[in-house]
Symmetry: none
Subunit: 199 residues, 4 copies
């Protein structure tokens, strides 16, 4: 059983910098070489530290990945929360557009990184904290949808998240960079999904 929670809290500034460097390095490798290229020696070298140092802060390779994914999900949750705040008071169609846009914020920042991270997540043994973040995200969306009278808002939230994720993934893979256009297309699917359901 691989330990997954971080090993020790970095107390000095240097230590915190090291931690960050390790995560950045792991993320970069993941983007450029995919999961098979992600090995601890490569991470350490890319981060400019020794393997030993890496293991001072993370008890295992999995733990690094887990924290990376956790960070990504936490950022996504924040994006979604901001999105919901913006969406408040608007009609369903506008609200959906805003939420889809919010969901793609991390793609705007770093499309390849975002994709790599979501892929990596699938191969990871489920981390409790990350799982909680994911549930919270779905719950937020479901609440919003419930406010518009959508039936089975939980299921709808899951479907719309999946739709967004799937379309974004394909778009990034195809090299798209116009996220406004992508947002618009996803929103069309989402709105269709929601409104057709009311018929």
């Amino acid at each position: 059983m691989a330990e997954i929670s971080p090993r020790k809290q970095p107390r000095q500034a240097r230590a915190r910098a090291t931690c960050e460097a390790v995560k950045q390095a792991a993320a970069r490798i993941l983007v450029t070489g995919g999961p098979p290229a992600l090995n601890t020696n490569a991470i350490a070298e890319t981060a400019g530290v020794s393997v030993g140092t890496l293991y001072q802060y993370y008890p295992s390779k999995q733990a690094i990945l887990a924290e990376l994914v956790r960070d990504m999900r936490a950022g996504m949750l924040a994006d979604i929360e901001r999105g919901r705040a913006q969406a408040k008071g608007h009609d369903l169609r506008t609200a959906v557009r805003l939420m889809v846009g919010a969901s793609l914020h991390h793609h705007r920042r770093d499309a390849l990184g975002a994709e790599a991270m979501e892929r990596a997540e699938a191969e990871l043994p489920m981390d409790a904290e990350t799982d909680a973040l994911k549930r919270r995200i779905i719950a937020l969306v479901a609440e919003l949808l419930a406010g518009y009278g959508i039936a089975d808002p939980e299921l709808a939230a899951r479907d719309l998240s999946a739709m967004t994720r799937g379309m974004a993934q394909a778009a990034v893979a195809a090299g798209e960079t116009d996220f406004d256009a992508l947002t618009e297309r996803i929103a069309r699917g989402a709105i269709g999904y929601l409104e057709t359901g009311c018929n």
Copy 2:
């Protein structure tokens, strides 16, 4: 650079049976243990042959996986072709429902296997033949959509495929088994995407 095309064409029946057994074994391991569990020794043992024999027919581990994915895509293409034949003459909404249903045929046969295979595909260096199959699938869908006057049918085909894949993946991960209901939900999204676009 690992060789990826099969090493020799199995002419005799026994040889074909061996090939099949190897692929089946690889597929089963992929489903039950994921990519990390997929190693050549395990494949050989599960298939009931020796590693040596395995290497008679496949030049590398990647080649086995590549053929597995190729088979999956070929099957999917056949499903889609059958779907299109059925869809001919129906209105857009019905056609979409039929196509989505066709796309989920392999999920109906073996949901976990289908998912495992699509995941595996992402980690594989792009195989020319598989890529051609994927393009053909998109092209088929695009042709169909063009017949209904959809603008930018290529892009729409890609978006709908991605939408389908994303929602199916999430549904399987959540343990859903009612593929009719799933088909209906995906179709709602797809139709919304297509019709909203006409506004």
Copy 3:
């Protein structure tokens, strides 16, 4: 939890030879360098095989050591059984001398090896089979002692075994090589232990 039982049965003659070579190599390293020198690379190199080969037959370093110890205990049990057969019909003093002599047979064959092995045993997580062998050895001695009317023969058997082991260890460490003399001295202690108890 390290696996300790051997991994696969060697089918071909070559394989059996490899197995034996690995054990011999481990034993030699243990004698010359002690536990800290016993690492799998060294074992493989000394045995003239690759690490990979070593791991075909033993699932872990511990497993090699465990089998070595098991072999030693099995040999010892055989020695003790022969000793008891010889001792039958003799008086207590003679019987004790014969049994002590039998216990030192493996020291006569390879004093340093015998000592190294007994040391190693202490650091090993208890292997069920080895434990059974040790119990059997004690039981055999206890039976013999019971036949002479010794009180609490189990305890006496354990004490005499420990006495023998302790004195032999010190003698080997001091470089003694006259095992007849050593046998005689141990026997004096043993007989004293047994007869004083009758007072």
Copy 4:
């Protein structure tokens, strides 16, 4: 070659306390986890100091262990000296009983610690000072035996020490706690060894 003598003489009280804490920590770890668990990080943490501080007082891990063993032997020497003082004027049998009892004093204080320490000693490169202590112990016993007209008192002293050590080890391993009974049994063996020799 690792330095083994302590690095600096602790003059201040705080320093002496640190040294003591380090040794105590090492001893405790050795008892609870055995040699493999004994690493400098664990020692430092258990002692409540930093690794850096540990290395202020001991030049290497081996040095800590060496001092621990030296302390143990010094304590044993003191026990034996007290035993001999008590034994003066008594007959051989009584003297032997007293000496065996004295040898087991450190077992009475901390049976597991005593055993762990003696085990550790075997794995250590011979330290000159410790070796001198061991010789002195044997010499003391030999002198005592010589006073009773025992032939080859050096050899007898070594044999009796080994006998004591062997039996004590087995008894502790078996979970015995009645050291008076154990003393009595060892003494029987010892007396038998010595008196049978006079025949």
